[in-house]
Symmetry: C3
Subunit: 288 residues, 3 copies
């Protein structure tokens, strides 16, 4: 059976050996495993950012990918170690693509983006995993603090080599934990439209990424935009170079939602947004 | 046909999922692709550093490598998406090696080091790339801000699997953009020699790397060295340990040019150089 | 012969092309090489942290792994370039596993964790390596500052493809350099026990990791704990969530030694420990 690639995301950072130790265990179990880093610099314990990043990247993962995600403030405690399978339809310009994903990690909401379509979730059975590994000459400890190495990595290794989930799991989880995100609020009038959304991420370039989708702009233009109640100057552009260097601009970013940016600059340094800050856009109708 | 390895350099950073998303798309198109990171921590939008790093590493890449470079302040604007092929001769101690490289990215000068020897450059044709990907069940969006994922990554995936460039390109680019770097200035006399060069990079260790090559030292020794007109103490050594710990020294670095360093310390913290700061060396003849 | 995976650790950082350049040379020599990063963010020149990280990860590496470690303040100087082989027994819950490791890097003590069990160490012979590489069309320079690229990487490439060490080495090293670490100090009484250990690492989460092993706690509980003579509040827990958020706690970490942590917080920011700070634990007997 062909290999399922493992896409790996954690808050382990790249200073210590944690990421390397997990990969060492995976390759001990499945020497052919293909492991691709999404990022290991999620802010420590930040399950919202983890879910957000998985949501953004999911659509682009190859069919049959395994998402190994370990951001785990409750490690060693009551939260369940889980794995599962999800079959999701995506739409690109009218075409439908169906992909199957596997996922492994703690049950704390980070997998919320996978809990749509047809999905099933199981509790991982450490004893089954340990015993299967032992047959390969691989010995797994069980620490209180490093389940990426002891449970999740090994489970992903078995799944990546084509194992059926049933080999490593116990009972089914009916209600896995999900995270709730703020909702969009609309106000409509005849020639009037207003939308309130939120900052959901600030990226490395200082782009302030919101959850306001491109669709709501159809037939309207931005009259004004407020971040935490404060008016932000700038205009909607279709490429950065329509703005002057270091000037604020609004643009639909890589996930087709509105972003507040500075051309060749850092909007975050200027406007100091935080996740879930409210962003209000007041539109005016385009008179064609 | 065997795989061409992809060497990948960006300013995406490792905090977000951008690097992982590009790799996901590459592996969706070519599951056997071998992707090696050069660095993703180029300072945001810094095309000079990108060109400099490509120049330094190029000579050591395997024959037939693909250089995927995305530092792209003009993304979504007028700059052209390009790819190409370059056949370059390198000299090592009198031996000549000829290597062929492929490259993919924006036409903003970052590929200057590849525009020597025999080379050809083409504009990428997004529609061809999208349609070829679609036949493999891979759907590519076209955003205004993330051409690494939408165009360059996919193009590199096709090239890495051995595709001919003609499959994914439009017309030929006669004059791709190149960056100009400061030139060396020499003054000669009978027993006198002076050279003025520049700082071209400051590395992670704080080494201040110049463009002054080892060759010009033949038969001479350093009398004095000035950085931005300020005399820097120190002597030329052939290994760090000839200097005292934390003392300044001059050494020929990994690319055979002069570097200003502190032994087991950070020269940049002490001397605060910037790229393109002038470095003047006054030599005196070695009386043999 | 099957590939031996290369586990790669340096202080090169991820800002420059150094890591990529070494990988380029390895893949030029052995296109099938599998290279896994342990970390490249060891603090510059810090051989103790390097040894500590190798010690922690070693037990989990696949049998026949090659450890390529380049933290090399003495590069270009008198320290010897070495490689070797070590056969080590590990114990997991009563089971014994024997693994063979190869290693390549400078002889400055970073390989101390490999100098147990059956091991042999050799001086690398640059001329042999260069000539073998040349036969493959790969030309290796010899700089004063970048032996990762010029010697160690290439040597690891040959070893990874199954070459015998004898092909690339000169004479045997009888006494490779080892690092000494502080020792544990015990005081015992009838119902009294005290242990003094040290901080050996501070990780990305700010966990303060000590060398005090779980075994010494058997039958006793912590009465008080001192860091640099200062009493640290907190209790021993078996999972983080037994403590309140941001409260100090003591826990056996991923390597079964005592760690000082804050739940979902950064203990290092609060207590400002340094490596080798003394940690004293006073125990009291558990009356069963």
């Amino acid at each position: 059976m062909s290999q399922r690639p493992i896409f790996f995301i954690t808050d382990y950072g790249l200073e210590d050996e944690y990421v390397g130790a997990v990969k060492a265990v995976i390759l001990s179990i499945n020497p052919e495993a293909k492991i691709i880093d999404i990022t290991h610099n999620v802010p420590s314990f930040d399950i919202y950012t983890t879910a957000f990043i998985i949501e953004k990247v999911l659509k682009f993962l190859p069919d049959s990918s395994v998402v190994l995600a370990v951001v785990d403030p409750g490690v060693g405690g009551k939260r369940k170690p889980i794995c599962g399978k999800s079959r999701i339809s995506f739409y690109f310009d009218g075409s439908q693509v169906v992909k199957t994903f596997y996922f492994v990690g703690p049950d704390n909401g980070i997998f919320s983006p996978l809990f749509r379509g047809d999905f099933e979730v199981f509790v991982l059975d450490y004893v089954k995993i340990r015993d299967k590994a032992k047959k390969l000459g691989v010995f797994l400890p069980l620490s209180s603090t490093f389940h990426g190495r002891d449970i999740f990595g090994p489970a992903s290794a078995f799944i990546s080599s084509g194992e059926d989930l049933i080999e490593i799991v116990g009972h089914r989880v009916i209600y896995p934990r999900t995270l709730s995100f703020p909702e969009l609020k609309f106000k409509y009038g005849d020639s009037f439209r207003q939308i309130e959304g939120s900052v959901i991420h600030i990226d490395k370039f200082g782009n302030i990424i919101t959850d306001i989708p491109r669709e709501v702009f159809s037939g309207y233009r931005i009259k004004s935009l407020y971040l935490r109640g404060k008016k932000i100057p700038g205009k909607l552009v279709s490429s950065y170079e329509e703005a002057k260097v270091k000037q604020p601009l609004f643009i639909f970013g890589s996930y087709n939602t509105l972003e507040i940016s500075l051309r060749e600059g850092n909007a975050q340094k200027k406007f100091k947004a935080k996740r879930f800050d409210r962003v209000k856009v007041i539109f005016e109708k385009i008179n064609e």
